[in-house]
């Protein structure tokens, strides 16, 4: 996916004024939070599961080469192919080559954030392939020609009425003339339209929630069964996955599956959990003739060695998005790239360059709610702060912020000077606002006073008043 042409501030302004977006965000986030909370409450070992998941991931990341090689060997043993993609471009080339070789006309796709990350659909379409997203949310945004705004619920920003209009526009030529207003009708109509595509598809591309090293299996979870149809009806199945998604054993995978369903959609388990292990074998009734896995690095191995390794524990559940008050205020598109919310504010600068996404790690109050719900205990606020530190050290932090910070720090580091200055200036400020109790405007403080009053200081500083009251103790 391309970098956006608008600024973060522009996108935020649009999002906050978009009443339909705000309604959609309110509606969706509330439901997920409630469902997740109820299930976590009902599972006494949830915390123990989180710790176990964190430990498994840390172990895998410390031995990633070993597990990836084991996984590759097992996939090959099952008759599949493994391709290593160092960059997004490599990944696109590999997948294009497979599709070309398969003479693919129609390609169906299960939901895959990695495919969004590498900009796959655009590349496939440019090469003349017909691409059909089969996850309902992805299908909707494909019709709308928009990127996903949430990693689990890609069309979360769309209201029911907007989807009804989209279906009118795109399904009418296919003979579906009734205007739909109910979600169940829309699901049914999309299902009927998609059904034909599954059977026509030459290649089916899915993501991989987990890759199991001991068996060479890839696991996907869906609620619509679209992934199963995508991967088992096409002649060629391509799995796209980040290199960090490997887990040692099937047993380990179950730990993550229990956490993922609860954290992502507030379900005990997703409706479909599907393992695929190699292509169709002799005697199998169905399945793809070819099975390919494209393992995407795209910046991940760089994270492995540095301060951001913990980010590679991420299982893409979206809980941090749902619980982030910034995400639920501005929606996913404002973030400008495929991964929004707290996890995206870490990943986007790390993948695309910390100089290219200054705002993302900074547009966060460090309130810490994301960390408390993360199923693999990623210290997201700490990682965001580490990016800010690197931005500051590399001179990416805007000059006006650096100057203001330095001016303040010069004082804050010198207590004597600081108190002398405040003893003089604070009572002045206090007198300015005494009548109303607060100040409506201050020079250079528009960030605050455009929308808020500044409560006036009470009078003397505490240090001054304390000294007067009790005398200096030190």
């Amino acid at each position: 996916m391309h970098a956006p042409t608008t600024t973060f501030a522009q996108r935020v302004s649009v999002a906050i004024l978009d009443k339909r977006l705000q309604a959609a965000l309110d509606h969706a986030s509330g439901g997920f939070l409630k469902k997740r909370a109820a299930l976590v409450e009902a599972l006494p070992e949830f915390e123990a599961l989180r710790e176990r998941a964190r430990d498994i991931k840390d172990h895998v990341l410390a031995n990633l080469d070993t597990y990836l090689e084991r996984y590759e060997a097992e996939v090959k043993r099952q008759g599949g192919h493994v391709h290593w993609a160092a960059t997004a471009e490599d990944a696109r080339e590999i997948i294009l080559a497979i599709c070309r070789k398969a003479n693919a006309k129609t390609i169906t796709k299960g939901k895959s954030m990695v495919s969004e990350e590498i900009g796959l659909n655009e590349a496939l379409e440019a090469a003349g392939h017909e691409v059909i997203e089969t996850d309902l949310g992805e299908y909707i945004i494909q019709l709308a020609k928009e990127p996903p705004s949430h990693i689990i619920v890609p069309a979360v920003h769309k209201t029911k009425a907007q989807v009804g209009d989209l279906f009118d526009l795109h399904h009418r030529p296919l003979g579906y003339t009734k205007h739909l207003t109910e979600v169940s009708e829309m699901v049914n109509e999309a299902r009927q339209v998609l059904r034909g595509h599954y059977f026509r598809a030459d290649v089916g591309i899915t993501g991989g929630n987990f890759l199991v090293a001991e068996t060479g299996s890839s696991i996907i979870v869906t609620n619509e069964g679209n992934g199963d149809l995508t991967q088992s009806l096409a002649r060629v199945h391509i799995v796209t996955s980040g290199i960090e998604r490997v887990v040692p054993t099937l047993d380990d995978a179950t730990t993550f599956l229990r956490l993922l369903a609860r954290s992502a959609t507030g379900q005990e388990t997703e409706t479909y959990t599907t393992l695929s292990t190699g292509p169709k074998r002799a005697g199998d009734l169905d399945g793809p003739e070819e099975y390919h896995v494209v393992l995407v690095d795209n910046g991940r191995s760089k994270m492995l060695g540095g301060a951001f390794r913990e980010m590679l524990r991420c299982i893409r559940c979206g809980a941090c998005l749902n619980h982030c008050p910034v995400y639920t205020s501005i929606g996913g598109h404002a973030y400008g790239w495929v991964y929004p919310g707290p996890m995206g504010s870490v990943l986007t600068p790390l993948i695309n360059g910390i100089d290219k996404a200054y705002d993302l790690p900074n547009a966060c109050t460090l309130n810490g709610r994301c960390q408390t719900v993360c199923p693999v205990k990623i210290p997201l606020p700490g990682l965001l702060r580490e990016i800010r530190r690197q931005q500051f050290e590399q001179g990416i932090t805007p000059g006006v912020i650096r100057v203001a910070l330095e001016a303040w720090a010069v004082l804050a580091r010198r207590a004597g000077l600081y108190h002398r200055l405040m003893r003089f200036s604070i009572p002045l400020l206090s007198r300015l606002g005494r009548r109303r109790g607060s100040l409506g405007w201050l020079p250079l403080a528009g960030g605050w006073t455009d929308t808020r009053d500044l409560p006036a200081p009470q009078g003397r500083t505490f240090q001054q008043a304390w000294k007067a009251q009790r005398g200096a103790r030190r």
């Binding site: 205020s329 607060s438 528009g446 605050w448």
Partner: protein, 251 residues
């Protein structure tokens, strides 16, 4: 117990009554309170903006100023979270300062959790007739475990009706420099918070961090809403009828 009061820059400059309230609560609980003059701020603005060098220098100033106290207590979960959680990590590569930072960390407490968890204060003999709601400030809640302590002390106040608002644990949109760097998002968040305060039916919102309270009060004043905003310590220290944050002083 000899307590060093970490005043916090916002209480020092904007609302000294919060620090006086802290002194009163600590002295009533039997502590000797001292206020080192060599303190300004905990350094969070620098730390959270990525300016590690200034953050470290400010931390060293705080560590020196508060050496030797039995406890270091401040009326802010956010500032005290910085002393307790962040200072040790800031000196990861400097063993001598790291040890001093850890020593300070182990003595650092948010005011109300210090009263309840350390000093075992059960109730504060006080009457105040009002319906209030309490906003859980993020750092206090998540870094310092402040949740039950203010509620316990408020429950002991005769005449006080504490009602819980929806999403009380959700950030108010202050976030330090966030609120001036991203005012639109911040304003949206504080408006959500204010909607929940209004829906609770409380006439007063209390909290444990002046950053949040100035943000909430500043927006309430701008919108002309009849809701009072106060630090929990002020109410508990018997200052509940004094002008709330952003209200004009009485004549």
């Amino acid at each position: 117990m000899r307590v060093g009061l970490f005043v916090t820059c916002l209480a020092d400059l904007m609302r000294p009554s919060v620090a006086f309230a802290a002194v009163k609560l600590l002295e009533d609980a039997g502590c000797t309170v001292e206020v080192p003059e060599a303190q300004t701020c905990c350094g969070q603005p620098a730390l959270n903006s990525g300016d590690q060098a200034d953050a470290r220098a400010i931390a060293q100033q705080v560590i020196e100023a508060f050496a030797g106290f039995d406890a270091v207590v401040g009326p802010s979960g956010s500032c005290m979270g910085t002393l307790r959680q962040d200072y040790p990590a800031m000196f990861a590569e400097d063993p001598a300062w790291r040890a001093r930072a850890e020593d300070l960390s182990s003595r650092s407490h948010e005011l109300l959790s210090f009263l309840v968890d350390v000093l075992k204060v059960e109730r504060i003999g006080l009457r105040h007739d009002a319906r209030v709601t309490y906003h859980d400030s993020c750092a206090g809640l998540r870094e310092m475990g402040v949740k039950a302590q203010p509620r316990k002390l408020l429950a002991g106040v005769v005449g006080l009706d504490l009602v819980e608002m929806k999403d009380t644990e959700v950030c108010c949109g202050f976030g330090g420099t966030f609120c001036i760097k991203y005012p639109e998002i911040s304003t949206k968040m504080v408006d959500d918070k204010i909607a929940n305060i209004e829906a609770s039916g409380a006439g007063t919102v209390l909290g444990g961090d002046l950053g949040c309270l100035l943000n909430i009060a500043g927006r309430i004043q701008r919108r002309g809403l009849p809701i009072r905003v106060m630090h929990t310590a002020e109410l508990l220290a018997g200052m509940g009828n004094e002008p709330s944050i952003g209200e004009p002083a009485k004549r």
